[in-house]
Symmetry: C2
Amino acid sequence: MQPLRPTLTRFIASAFGSKAHRTASSTATNFSVQPQPKQQQPQQPQVPKAAVSRARLARHLELTWRQGSASHFPLTWLRDNCQCPQCYHPESKSRTVDWATCDVTIKPKDVQVSDDGKTVIVDWLDAHNSRFSAEWLHERRFEEDARKKWLSTYKQKKHIWGSAQEENFPRKRFNFSAVMSTDGGLLQWLLELEMRGVAILEGADSDESTVRKLAERVAFIRRTHYGEEFNVKSKSDPSNVAYTEQALQLHTDLPYYEYKPGVNMLHCLMQAQGEGGENQLVDSLRVAMQLKQNNPEAYKALTTVPIDWSDRGVEDGRPFQSLHRAPVICEDAEGNVVRVNYSQPQRDSHFSVPLEQVDGWYLALKEFTRLALSDENCVQYKTKPGEILSFDNLRILHGRSSYSPAVNQIYERHIVGAYLDWDEIRSRIRVLSQQEPTPLAH
Amino acid sequence: MQPLRPTLTRFIASAFGSKAHRTASSTATNFSVQPQPKQQQPQQPQVPKAAVSRARLARHLELTWRQGSASHFPLTWLRDNCQCPQCYHPESKSRTVDWATCDVTIKPKDVQVSDDGKTVIVDWLDAHNSRFSAEWLHERRFEEDARKKWLSTYKQKKHIWGSAQEENFPRKRFNFSAVMSTDGGLLQWLLELEMRGVAILEGADSDESTVRKLAERVAFIRRTHYGEEFNVKSKSDPSNVAYTEQALQLHTDLPYYEYKPGVNMLHCLMQAQGEGGENQLVDSLRVAMQLKQNNPEAYKALTTVPIDWSDRGVEDGRPFQSLHRAPVICEDAEGNVVRVNYSQPQRDSHFSVPLEQVDGWYLALKEFTRLALSDENCVQYKTKPGEILSFDNLRILHGRSSYSPAVNQIYERHIVGAYLDWDEIRSRIRVLSQQEPTPLAH
């Protein structure tokens, strides 16, 4: 949309302005209201930044800001967002306009702008009277810059990384106490987690309840059929290969959940002594990007062939049979990668696709795996006791090298894990961003 | 794929059959193995249903079943699913083949079938030896009938309904005690919930903990920022319009969650005395279907224009700002409706799309609303104390008429609600379906 050229700050009311009950034309009636008050001071020192100088009704309500530019607001949207007590419930901040009876083609009979330009008053043909603050309208402009600003509070832009960007992995560390006790500390950790997908906290208590405290500092634990906190250590009769000393190939957790937990937090209480037990970490967004560029056919196979992700077992005496069908790389309608599923152990032996899709898919998976394991994509890090490794489970592939079982219990590798969901994390980021003076980093 | 014609049950081993270390051709070497034993009885009475009569290697392994038909299995898939202790971890039922080193173009040097036709033994060039039971392979055939059978355990087919099908709503009722105490009762309720999207349990205790017990009978409560159980009754300073006596327009709960809870359970402890407090229930799949047929333009607007669903407030002293952007009707890649978001109170006043999309979208929403509220789609039901109304929150629109506040606390309308997720419900259905003799209903 072209920005309209600045208009006069004094505008003579049209014949339409004061005639009650006349329908505003939906085509092009130039309809203005509220002559501006004569300026008492030459410099307009008290005019607020978001103040309207002129209102005009055509297909949309056109407001000209004191600064000169103009914005258009759809009439239906204005009626839909009437803030009167019949249409809006202020305690719950909720629209209550009844859509069974509301006329979506409704027109105003009159529009007024307050003397200071701070309020726009719309008098509707259905006897409603809506007052909108200029600031409120300014924030909700349909121009791209205003929409971008609002969307910046939706999800953080992701910073894609490879091992070259992680020479001193992890680039940033977060102090556990600062995260637990200051809003700024909490916000910075969560922003890093969303933008780069991985962050390490250090200085945590050596306590099995620490990861729960951390989750509850954000929101609450996202439970799965493995419970709330889960103890990752070698055990007999394991229901999951993570509960062995074996190496774990690169994977995402719980691909067999349609609603896969968003973030994995792994608190290291005791690390394997000697060799083994290192984590591998890979940004799958980078791998997907490389695959798409260099091998579009493989990329297509991994984004379109549905895989049967599954997990069967018994946990706490209760059997489970989880199953979710989805490609390895899941794109949204715009082709953005929104989730990666990758797990050898949890790919079912049922491969429920036509025979002719199978061989190509295996070749594509092999290529994806080769890229993920390449030195430029895969970083290694052995967490230390007191560290909490947190990462985006929709994005980051993680693995673990094998380790020797402890000779006695004292030196046994012991990780306590728990999940959080992005819905709760993003809610917390929004709340904290408004409290904290720190602007959202991009 | 054409079913192959029945082949001989006795087949002479080719020259290739017994030569170790010779590479199986990837093109068309007819390579058969293991001559069938001479039949001692004329009728083959002991031959198991899934038994192989012949194995042949070409691009894929071709197995001819004793009954005559043939199936093809990709070689890579067979190698990928080797069940030897190096490639498969039986306790966790997990594939452990290392994809960093595995050759996805691997060929066998030999294939054998056991005398009774019940086991296929593949001797690979990488020194692995895989044994597959004929029954295991038969279940995993790539033919459409086998794939359909497996997929029938994934999700239940949905039965779309309108009010004409619900004359005596609810068509089926479920006894709370039977659901709590018998696996058959639990399974039948969950199947109804998945297929028709709505089910009523009756005869529940009049206890605030009942809905928790029910959730834990299935799996566990899906928590949200409103907590685990939530009490729906009129309260002062409500963070949600549900916590008032006002009418609630048709809606789905929590559209502002990217991972929206799957099932809503509303336990009626006390119903409003006199007029009001009825639930409206609508199958949005039927509304979407009608809209698609009769007004494709409106359907397109509702499936493509992203809406900012939001919820802001404070619950238990903690502020939240939830936000999710998604269309009203969400389709999967095949155009199936997988989720509906619909809520006047929780549609944000920010409408973050280009101006020119707004008017058409409002007209489309109005038409969707008109269809949803039509007599043929909307059923009314006032739950009674002791009843639990359960429904699919991704599919069913629900509303509530306004009611008069209680004059004293004793007669106050009081509903206790909780959510479950489909991941857990479907897992439970699969487990129960294997325990129960009742086959899955379709």
